[in-house]
């Protein structure tokens, strides 16, 4: 699903250049649940942003489902993001003046789906994350866990090839974190490919594979025995 070869990325900080990713080789098969672990500054978020086409690599190759991702203009990147990727953020990033349902339906708006169809589909995904009764509430009326579940529904609604989660439990307490992870596992069980960036070991253990990142290189890449989140809830 994801093929990355010799990926480099550096940021310019004034006159200095900060080399964040120093040759990443990495691939993900369809249906995997991968955790990318590392301390802050290890380059894990940068990697995720490049995979998510929110940022561009300086060097190296990146194929997504056989499509080379290179020299994208904004419009093309927007198109790919919309069709291929679903984002889940640490800070939820819901639009605060839109209801849960409208937030979930937003990616479909950019697919030019008619309003009615959009809302039906969004409602279906809200139901999947267990928030059907909350569909007409604003994000400010939802708890952190509920917000993140709305965000997951929004990431799912366009039926993307890959779900990208950046510290999705970072703003949640552990019980809520496990509930969210349970949902992630459930989605993965349905065959979806998911990448999770985290620095929490227990969250990483709930994935099927852990990639350790340090100072811009992969130091370890191992398959783990998945801990089911349900056991902790």
């Amino acid at each position: 699903m994801i093929e990355i070869k010799d990926l480099h990325k550096s940021y310019k900080m004034g006159s200095n250049s900060l080399h964040v990713l120093k040759g990443i080789n990495f691939s993900v098969e369809a249906g995997e649940l991968v955790a990318i672990m590392g301390s802050s500054g290890s380059g894990k978020s940068t990697l995720l942003n490049i995979i998510g086409m929110l940022d561009e690599a300086d060097e190296g190759e990146y194929d997504l489902d056989g499509i080379p991702i290179k020299n994208l203009n904004e419009t093309k990147a927007a198109n790919y993001r919309n069709k291929f990727l679903g984002f889940i953020f640490q800070s939820f990033n819901l639009i605060n003046y839109k209801t849960a349902l409208e937030n979930v339906a937003l990616p479909l708006y950019y697919q030019k789906m008619p309003r009615k169809q959009r809302q039906e589909k969004a409602m279906k995904y809200l139901e999947q994350v267990g928030l059907k009764e909350w569909s007409h509430h604003l994000p400010s009326e939802l708890s952190g866990g509920q917000k993140q579940r709305v965000a997951i529904a929004r990431a799912m609604v366009a039926e993307p090839k890959v779900l990208l989660a950046d510290e999705l439990t970072g703003a949640l307490d552990s019980t809520t974190s496990y509930e969210v992870m349970e949902l992630i596992q459930k989605i993965n069980d349905q065959g979806n490919t998911i990448l999770v960036v985290t620095h929490e070991t227990d969250i990483a253990q709930m994935c099927k594979r852990i990639v350790y990142l340090r100072d811009g290189v992969i130091i370890k890449d191992e398959k783990v025995k998945q801990v089911r989140a349900k056991a902790h809830v």
């Binding site: 927007a78 993001r81 003046y97 950019y110």
Partner: protein, 414 residues
């Protein structure tokens, strides 16, 4: 523009950001409102001043004699000048191709006017039949003096409407009634209307009658002319001034008056006077325009400012939308669409409100030199479009920048 989904999205945004929309709207609407009211008031002043000058024919030139102040050709200063029929006729002959209407005028003094037993204390004036057009008197009833009254020294009189109201309350119409002027009966043949009551307290009789019956001899007190109307105001003024000077030098020669002695023969031109007022009005209008344009600039700055803040405030939202697959142009389009929609609606609201106010209140404004303030609709409309355009441009740059910020940076924006 005709994308229904886009409209729905924009209405959603507007409905859920009422305060922001309201503030933008108010700043646009108040800018338009102030401008329209200012321009309307400027127009009102112009109307008011024109109105004051419409009362008499604006091309009127009047001559009246005075006292010489300079010694000339052996004649002492301090001589009283008396205009006579000869002067009137010679002036007419000399300037026959320059003038439109002409009339001598005699103030008939030392007469008593009676209607039945009632004594009337109104001025009696002997005039020629053209005087109707010079004075711009509008006849309410009957007729004005005519040529035959003049050559036959007819004993007819025209009275002002005020006199009719004051004296002829008992009869349906004063026409056909007789008034007694120092023992001579005059038949009333007409009633005239003036805009000012003061000018309606007059009785006009034929100039020939005035001279013959009331010991006038060939004396006249005053000569009035009107000049033919000219399309161009400045040309008209130049013409009037030239005519005024020629007429004066002619009369000065006839009466042996020093050419630089202006108090012996006094000539007054309404046009010259009007020019002074109109240039004043011009200055006032210019001032109002200046203030108006400043108001518009303030409005433009206000709208731009709000647009900047709106876009800044929405940076994170823009980042989210981009992460979800919004293309840069759809972001710019969305922001501009909303900006144009809000400024257009509030701009037209301000326009309609202020024009409505002028329409309703305008006709009731009765202050000296201000009359029926109104505004050119096209000017106001153009202003609205200027504001919309300004709002669009002001919104475009921050929108464009926001649409091109790195999505991650936009998402980090707090």
């Amino acid at each position: 523009m005709f994308d229904l989904e886009r409209w729905q999205e924009i209405f959603d945004t507007i409905r859920k950001n009422k305060l922001r929309t309201f503030l933008t709207g108010v700043s646009v609407a108040s800018g338009i409102f102030m401008l329209v009211i200012l321009l309307g008031f400027g127009q009102g002043m112009q109307n008011g001043i024109s109105y004051e000058f419409e009362q008499d024919a604006t091309t009127i030139v009047e001559v009246w004699p005075g006292v010489t102040t300079k010694e000339y050709k052996g004649l002492n200063p301090g001589r009283s000048i008396q205009l006579r029929n000869d002067n009137y006729n010679s002036s007419n002959a000399l300037f026959s191709d320059k003038v439109e209407y002409k009339s001598p005028l005699i103030f008939v003094r030392n007469v008593s006017v009676n209607y039945g037993k009632e004594a009337l204390v109104y001025g009696v004036r002997g005039v020629s039949y053209d005087y109707q057009f010079i004075d711009n008197a509008k006849l309410a009833e009957g007729r004005f003096l005519n040529y035959f009254d003049e050559i036959n020294t007819g004993k007819v009189a025209i009275i002002g409407r005020k006199i009719k109201q004051d004296v002829f309350k008992a009869v349906d119409t004063p026409i056909g009634e007789f008034i007694n002027i120092s023992g001579v009966l005059f038949k009333i043949v007409g009633v005239f209307d003036e805009r000012e009551e003061r000018e309606e307290e007059r009785i006009y009789i034929p100039v020939t009658t005035a001279q013959k019956v009331f010991n006038g001899g060939d004396r006249i007190s005053n000569i009035s002319y009107t000049l033919p109307p000219v399309e161009n105001f400045d040309e008209a003024v130049i013409q009037a001034v030239a005519f005024k000077n020629n007429l004066r030098s002619h009369l000065q020669q006839v009466h042996t008056v020093a050419p630089d002695d202006t108090s012996a023969i006094q000539v007054w031109s309404a046009l010259e006077e009007a020019k002074r007022y109109f240039s004043l009005v011009g200055n006032i209008k210019f001032f109002f325009w200046f203030v108006g344009i400043c108001t518009i600039i303030a409005g433009v700055v206000g709208v731009s400012n709000i647009m900047l803040i709106v876009v800044k405030e929405r940076t994170r939202e823009i980042g989210i939308r981009k992460a979800l697959g919004a293309k840069p142009w759809s972001i710019i389009g969305m922001i501009l669409h909303e900006a144009i929609f809000v400024t257009a609606i509030s701009g037209f609201a301000g326009l309609i409100f202020s024009m409505g106010l002028l329409e309703i209140v305008g006709p009731y404004v009765e202050v000296d030199y201000v009359k029926n303030p109104s505004v050119n609709f096209n000017v106001a409309l153009a202003t609205v479009f200027v504001l919309i355009l300004a709002g669009t441009i002001a919104g475009f740059f921050p929108a464009w920048r926001a649409a091109h910020i790195h999505t991650i940076d936009a998402l980090r924006d707090e």
